[in-house]
Symmetry: C2
Amino acid sequence: MKATQFHIATLREAPADAEVISHRLMMRAGMIKRLGAGIYNYMPLGLRVIRKVEAIVREEMNRAGAVELLMPIVQPAELWQETGRFDKMGPELLRIKDRHGRDFVVQPTSEEVITDIARQDLRSYKQLPKNFYQIQTKFRDERRPRFGLMRGREFIMKDAYSFDRDAAGAQASYQVMAQAYRRIFDRFGLRYRAVAADSGAIGGDLSEEFQVIAATGEDAIVYCPTSDYAANMEKAEALAPEGPRPAPTEPLQRVPTPGKSTCAEVAELLGVPLQRTVKSLVLATDTRNEAGDITATRIWLLLLRGDHDMNEVKVGKLPGMEGGYRFATQAEVEAHFGCRPGYLGPLGLQQPVTVVADREVALMADWICGGNEEDVHLTGVNWGRDLPEPALVADLRNVVAGDRSPDGKGVLAIERGIEVGHVFYLGTKYSRAMNASFLGEDGKPAFFEMGCYGIGITRLPAAAIEQNHDERGIIWPDAIAPFTLVICPIGMDRSEAVRSAAESLHDALAQAGVDVILDDRGERPGAMFADWELIGVPHRVVISERGLKDGRVEYQHRRDTEATGVALSELHAFLAARLGLGVLPVAP
Amino acid sequence: MKATQFHIATLREAPADAEVISHRLMMRAGMIKRLGAGIYNYMPLGLRVIRKVEAIVREEMNRAGAVELLMPIVQPAELWQETGRFDKMGPELLRIKDRHGRDFVVQPTSEEVITDIARQDLRSYKQLPKNFYQIQTKFRDERRPRFGLMRGREFIMKDAYSFDRDAAGAQASYQVMAQAYRRIFDRFGLRYRAVAADSGAIGGDLSEEFQVIAATGEDAIVYCPTSDYAANMEKAEALAPEGPRPAPTEPLQRVPTPGKSTCAEVAELLGVPLQRTVKSLVLATDTRNEAGDITATRIWLLLLRGDHDMNEVKVGKLPGMEGGYRFATQAEVEAHFGCRPGYLGPLGLQQPVTVVADREVALMADWICGGNEEDVHLTGVNWGRDLPEPALVADLRNVVAGDRSPDGKGVLAIERGIEVGHVFYLGTKYSRAMNASFLGEDGKPAFFEMGCYGIGITRLPAAAIEQNHDERGIIWPDAIAPFTLVICPIGMDRSEAVRSAAESLHDALAQAGVDVILDDRGERPGAMFADWELIGVPHRVVISERGLKDGRVEYQHRRDTEATGVALSELHAFLAARLGLGVLPVAP
């Protein structure tokens, strides 16, 4: 490819609304162009990256036995009404009316349509397992689209759906996909982790996220550097501390803490570590009758160590929380605790409250909490002595770095990641809702056991950039670079020798299947180098008249701090080694 | 590929709403599955065909120097308001409101977005010419979607847009595309014609349709079997008859024709050929003031030979018709002709009427027309003698088979076609509306000269089937077949020899890059053959135990009436020749 026959249009400045580095660099490199909020044109350079991502995904999906098809982008509402998602989903589901006033949606995913296909085409257990996938445009009408391709509204996703005769089959299909995903992410050449994720109402451990490691990632991922353990923050279990609860050593005391309503303020005032304090979170669960009116409300007091954060997913799984929970209102708090928030605690409650202690809190002695009285805290609080043992002890919190790993093989570390893939066991959630069944070996109909498997095709390049960039621009891994190698001739328009060397190297590399671009735009060296460093092409060969006179060209990898002189006679062998090719044709 | 690892799901019956053969066969073969009116799932078999079509198109577009990008499916209304199309286009433009109530459209084409890209990125004449294309999903909310992929609502189109500095450049870009289209359609292996099409208001001859020839085609295409002339019906010129107008031989006569209001009825009553009659069509053009109120109406009388049909596009180009025309109302007809339609003619008009004679009619003598009196016609009518020469003589009609070719090199024939491609010179229509300019060599801004170039990616397979099928099913050309060759083993589950021969042939072909499928489903021969004949795989090899004992397998092309025995020792050479391969690896 020659640059003049392609489309290179870099920008000096990123637009002001580009907040993250990948967004800024993709805009500046001319890989994407904004059309509307969360809606981007994939410009030729960006599309090349996306196509490479797609090709790797497609190859590995095919290798894993998945079969590609393509489902419509505009889908009739009827199927979405069968599962209830047409009504249940919020405004992120883009709803349309056609010319006849009929309801449609723009697909955010395709569980309904694929289940509809399965219930038509998969009649017998003999046709199972089957895994269908598509690489298709999706739309989610995000409330606040941002970060370029990281959280766009229109995006491309690979979504696969497996159909099995039973749960064991579905789990096997899930494992096949999880392995394919590892191969895919290995091939991208990015640092990533597969982390256990919460599988929600389905249960079991069959949900993993594939996270590209990047300091700017939205997600906190938890791992054990000395074992295989990895999970996302929602899922990572906080073990109970080792050993028994220490014996009380302090008396219960009422201390004035005027205006100090947070654990941090109280710890500072009293000159004790934050870890000695216990925070009180008041939640409520409502019971409703068939008409949807609230008939009863239960108030919960969750106790966490002052330096710990509540984990909403874990709390949602407490027995009694199945129907969802909310934070209690100020009126509810005052009615049960006789005090406004900021000074709450588990002692001297006015009304029945279900007390749940985090595993950590349940083993604390001589702790500090609110006194259920304005501007008052209690110190030297001890379970059993000053208040009853907690009704329930559970894992309520996010883990923190240094916590013991749940597998017992070390301590946890935390890093940031960008979710680019997810494998998920669905069970019969959709097949049951849509009455999608097959005839089993026993002659009886059974619902399909399903799994779903996504990769964010257009998010991946953004994640790759968050992980791989420097102050000059993007640094692509070879596998998904828009071009693998750029030839920068200096003075090509003046020197026939430079032109001829550049063109013959270009032709030799192109013939060997290398994705090469020859910059024949006639830009000055500084501007030319800056463009390609911004664009992030990993390998560069500079050809100059002076170099040619010495029988040399210069090679530089995008990560190298300086160029390497390479003799023309050795150039092909050198590049073949650098590009991981077997052999390159004749020397230029 | 093995059939059990793919997805084969043929149907005995096509659904009742499938009216045309391609729709019926694609449904029965399991290539598509209806999701809603004009909205189809592309099932694995169908997607394979579409991907092959895409690959050929992409390769030739790249070869022609076009650069691929991808524009969003959901596009903000603002750009569509700049060109006025947001308001002007009818309900076939699918309009959406997002969660914030902002207007969007689902793209039916992308002139606005690409022009917006050009006005941002193409600043100088030095960057021109440039041709951008995409292969992307489109949506047109057709009033009556039908015929499966032939006239769907959601479909995939390749749309390219060229940008040039002047009209000469645009015409050169147009020619490059027209040539690329010929290469593309040649490669598809279909019989097609590139026909001149009307270029509407832009003028010139720079509009061609690529029509796949099929008896069931919606379009009439006109060509000269002894020359290169080809045009669509709207465009094809009807020459004036040769020689001068014959001298009058009959007197003008008033004949009673009670109840005979059509030319055919009158010709039959009078016992003369239909070609002796002249039909009268009454049109009207309105002049409006700025408020849009009609201030004047002009009435036109168009005269055509009784057996000819009016051509709406040609009539729309008559001087005075620029603003559009309509058929006159009954009241207008009666006011000007003193008679109701059915007995109208150009003699004895009551009010001023612009008479336009078709070229053919202008050279007729002794003709027959209505007498402007109920149940009365005139015979022996002659120009000059009985009425003034016509105010205007023009080509008003559709050509018919046997007409002289406009290039003077033979006579015209007519066949049916399906439009699958269109190349079109746009001029500055969009660039002007969107103020999209570049800096010219003279330092002055100039509007881009544009062209647009479409190929209906998902319509093409349907057109291919309309052209290539028989009573057993589809017959794919090799280039776009879902699989090139199917291996049908008989009794593979019983015979190790059959299994081994089938698998080694499969592996050898796959390794040679042949798109081969091995039917390992264990179907009985009749059902297996019927499936593959329906699906239309062009090459078939049947392997049976009996054949292997004789050292033979059977080969049959989908168009062959019977199978050919091929010795195992010659099989690879035989298949290499049939499939147009250089060489196949070692014998099985």
